[in-house]
């Protein structure tokens, strides 16, 4: 009998992940035992507490990890580097905001999730469930599990754990995608597409892992690097084809999750179909986690490659980055749906992220860290705003989200604050100075130029210009274009600002927020006797407003005084133990 040495497990190091996963388990138990009425509150408290706990756990681990350079459990199966902790902190913060958005039931009194996602759309059963006011509170544990996967994703040296984390992250998301309250067929379709393509990508990645294992007789990245540098250490180490193909496939899997072209095709459909709060959560957190994992894997492997292979890898990243930026911006420019547009913008951002990877340097990892935070804040906020802009029918009932661009016309007059926040998020995504997006883009491009990839940076800049175009288009629409139903508005706009008529201005100028105010749904509905389907901005019941406010705050703070955060991220840029 061979001896077995029980490994020592440093639970403290695991704490960031454990907190979330344990809370997820608790969440499931809550589902089982807490009466339906109290479930939502309980879940919310558990979820938010857990995510806050993760941030605390990360903070507690920080000193130790920063001093030692790393902290590993069981031979790096779980590996905390400063960079990992940074990504974990970002993911936790973004997930926290995402959960706030998810939790909001808005002025319409419903959250964005189907009462019973399993019910066939349009059946009596579904109606009964809706009338009974059922709520799908399982989304909270699902989000926690997904977050757990995201926290684990960049925090390992072991490719199989990487794969498991990937699935841990993805599987709950597949389910979450299918839970939209409105447009359920679209939602289910989104889930299906996401699932099929996602599992395809993860299968590719897994095969890549198998090949890497075949090469190095180990799935530990550091060992793979060692074997790459010492070609006699394993039986198959003289077959670099294995590791190249393997690494390629693994990278493909990661690029898929980031949403980089040509593996981006799922993004628009999924982002559009999924319940909007989930989209925000997914877009922000998955990208952060996947970017972290990409840095972890690609940067580490690059250390082991010889000059020639390294150059090839860099070329590959160049191509993908350029392609991604081009696809994201060009396709984004022709979208007519807000969610789709944001989806393409997320693809473009994936491209910008990749720009920072070409140097395999700490500058790059820092830039990526900052970028995902900046992008995540803007994205969560933007999708949160999308959840509040709704359609209404002739009777003033609030329906689903009004995502067509034309419906966003004149939003600034209905809800100036909301529109201002959305504009800010768009500006940040566009990379306008004094927003987080600018510093992020700056970091990314300087990382690229630092690595000698200045043409890439220039292409990135040009792509930014194009991207700016479609962000600005939306801003124009919201701020400068009169709303669709001006015919209806103009009637009471006349008495609301009667004096203005004398100035000879077009009446569309005067219908301001005071008439179609942001918060009062009932008021709005009552004042508009116009019998047409229109757009209405529902009020947040708090959480989403808090999330939006925090995102605004974050975007501005990171744009104006990014110093402290950047300093911290400079320390957190170490991606290898």
């Amino acid at each position: 009998m061979n001896e077995f040495d029980a490994p020592q497990i440093d639970w403290a190091v695991l704490s960031p992940v454990l907190v979330v996963l344990a809370a997820g388990v608790v969440g499931v138990l809550v589902e089982a035992f807490v009466p339906a009425r109290a479930r939502r509150t309980t879940q919310l408290v558990v979820t938010l507490a857990a995510l806050a706990g993760t941030v605390v756990a990360v903070a507690l681990q920080w000193d130790r990890v920063a001093t030692d350079g790393y902290a590993a459990v069981v031979d790096g199966t779980f590996l905390l580097t400063p960079f990992t902790l940074g990504i974990q902190a970002v993911v936790a913060v973004l997930a926290f905001l995402g959960v706030l958005v998810v939790a909001d039931r808005t002025g319409a009194g419903e959250d964005s999730f189907a009462p019973t996602a399993a019910a066939v759309p349009g059946t009596a059963y579904e109606d009964a469930a809706r009338e009974a006011g059922l709520q799908q509170t399982e989304i909270y544990p699902l989000m926690l599990f997904a977050t757990g996967g995201m926290l684990l994703f960049p925090a390992t040296d072991n490719l199989i754990v990487l794969f498991i984390a990937l699935e841990m992250m993805s599987l709950p998301l597949y389910v979450l995608c299918a839970t939209a309250r409105r447009r359920r067929l679209l939602s289910q379709e989104a889930a299906f597409k996401y699932f099929v393509l996602g599992s395809f990508a993860s299968a590719l990645m897994l095969f890549g892992i198998a090949l890497v294992y075949g090469f190095a007789a180990s799935v530990s990245l550091e060992t793979v690097v060692y074997v790459l540098q010492h070609p006699d250490s394993t039986v198959l180490a003289d077959m670099p084809g294995l590791v190249i193909t393997g690494a390629l496939l693994v990278t493909v899997g990661l690029l898929f999750k980031i949403g980089a072209a040509p593996f981006h095709t799922w993004t628009p459909d999924v982002y559009q179909g999924a319940p909007t709060p989930v989209t925000g959560f997914m877009a922000a957190c998955v990208k952060a986690a996947a970017a972290g994992a990409l840095v972890r894997v690609v940067f580490t492997l690059a250390a082991g490659l010889d000059e020639q292979l390294r150059a090839d890898l860099v070329t590959g990243l160049w191509v993908v980055a350029i392609l991604t930026m081009v696809v994201g911006t060009v396709a984004g420019a022709v979208q007519t749906d807000v969610k789709r547009m944001l989806a393409y913008s997320s693809i473009a951002h994936a491209g910008f992220l990749l720009v920072a990877t070409v140097g395999f340097s700490a500058t790059g990892s820092r830039a990526i860290l900052f970028y995902v935070l900046a992008y995540g804040l803007a994205t969560v906020g933007a999708f949160a705003v999308v959840t509040l802009v709704r359609e209404r029918d002739a009777d003033g009932n609030v329906l689903g989200e009004a995502t067509h661009l034309t419906q966003w016309a004149g939003l600034a007059r209905r809800a100036p604050l909301l529109a201002a926040a959305f504009c800010l998020f768009l500006l940040s995504m566009a990379g306008i100075p004094l927003t987080a997006g600018f510093i992020a883009k700056f970091s990314v491009f300087s990382a690229a130029v630092d690595a000698g990839a200045w043409p890439l940076a220039v292409i990135g800049v040009l792509a930014s210009v194009v991207a700016v175009f479609f962000y600005v288009r939306l801003i124009v629409l919201m701020v400068l274009t009169p709303p669709l139903e001006d015919a209806g508005d103009a009637v009471h706009a006349g008495d609301a600002a009667g004096a203005s008529a004398a100035t000879g201005r077009a009446s569309d100028e005067s219908a301001d927020g005071d008439a179609a105010g942001g918060g009062a749904r009932t008021l709005t509905a009552a004042r508009r006797a116009v019998t047409q389907v229109g757009v209405v901005v529902v009020a947040s019941r708090g959480p989403a407003a808090v999330a939006i406010a925090l995102c605004v705050l974050g975007v501005v703070a990171l744009g104006v005084v990014p110093g402290p955060v950047l300093d911290w991220m400079t320390q957190a840029a170490d991606f290898r133990p």
């Binding site: 349009g122 059946t123 289910q188 299906f192 299968a203 892992i209 075949g214």
Partner: protein
Amino acid sequence: MELTHYLYLASILFALGATTVLLRRNAIVVFMGVELMLNATNLALVTFARMHGDVTGQVLAFFVMVVAAAEVVVGLAIIVTIFRARRSASVDDVNLLKS
């Protein structure tokens, strides 16, 4: 028998699975393609484990099976939901899409 033959088999199976995913239109068949890919990977893992004479690969195969199972569960759930929704081609569906 040469162990590399297993690798060829694994690759062929994997390619078959991938082709299935990419070419077939039936949800379940696509799904089976993915499973085939995963199982081909398992074969590769086990073969490599044999070549290297260590058990890591086998353990990995274990994990892959678990993950595959979880994926089956989630995937089946989604597919079944969609299937049921689409079969009941009621007028309400159209309304839902428009709402």
